[in-house]
Amino acid sequence: MTVGLNAFLIVAGLLFAVGLLGVTLRQNTLVIYMSLELMLNAVNLAFVAFSRYNGTMDGNLFVFFIITVAAAEVALGLAIIVALFRRRQSVMVDQLNALSH
């Protein structure tokens, strides 16, 4: 394969940028959360690319741990969103501003 490391890093960086765009642009908490997962995924891709081109296994193991932590984080975050919805009947961030005033 003649595709270099930088091509993979560009793809990872673009995925990260798209995830950041979703976090800042959207109002739905669930979509914001999915964009956060996309950013984590972009970092995973960069880790695997670095690991492959460096010839070591450590980056792959890091991705393994990141996926574990991300699964735990998704379970807790969605539980928080459900609790929030039960209290406020909304998941839109512009209506979840009780702490700002």
């Binding site: 995925l15 798209v18 642009l25 109002q27 792959n60 998704v74 459900v82 039960r86």
Partner: protein, 182 residues
């Protein structure tokens, strides 16, 4: 051949990610997210991380997105929310677009090859003794288990404990409390 596959999967992943961000319907966004995750898994296969590709499909595209779809279905967030209120006001849209473009320009200027030396890809089978400062890269999942139980023993235990803590935390957070209590 592999180069064409790289471009195909990269484009699929990026288009699915952009659609996920821009589509107003949360269920469609979740479906696009699944496509993006599977595209990333394909890129993992191109990088010869087969075990991680399988983990990616099973954990992310399987478990995590099913959880998301369940919550979207249960909360029914699309009902009563017009498409116009989905995005923030014009100032936020402009600021988000400018931030996005700046980040894209940063990515291209950093990684477009002019500034960083670009190492070539050496086949795993040809020279197994590559740089040898860490665990050498192999394609077998056996080396995962070996590393997890030798070099990464403590993080492995901590990850297991973290999953237990998350499980208990989810039970505590999603327990239904009496409203009169607070």
């Amino acid at each position: 051949m592999l180069d064409i596959l790289f471009y195909v999967f990269s484009v699929i992943t990026l288009i699915a990610a952009v659609l996920m961000v821009l589509t107003p319907n949360a269920v469609n966004g979740a479906m696009c997210m699944i496509v993006a995750f599977i595209g990333t898994a394909a890129l993992f296969v191109l990088l010869e991380a087969y075990f991680l590709a399988v983990i990616q499909v099973v954990v992310y595209a399987g478990a995590v997105m099913v959880l998301f779809l369940f919550i979207i279905m249960l909360l029914d967030v699309d009902k009563g929310e017009g498409g116009a209120t989905e995005y923030n006001d014009k100032l936020t849209i402009g600021a988000s677009a400018i931030g996005f473009l700046l980040l894209v320009m940063l990515v291209f200027s950093a990684f477009s090859g002019a500034h960083l030396p670009e190492p070539g890809l050496s086949a795993v089978s040809e020279n197994p003794e590559v740089f040898n400062s860490g665990v050498p890269f192999t394609t077998s999942s056996k080396s995962f288990g070996y590393s997890l139980f030798t070099k990464y023993m403590l993080p492995f235990q901590v990850a297991g404990f973290l999953l237990l803590a998350a499980m208990i935390g989810v039970i505590v957070v999603s327990k239904k409390y009496d409203i009169a209590e607070d």
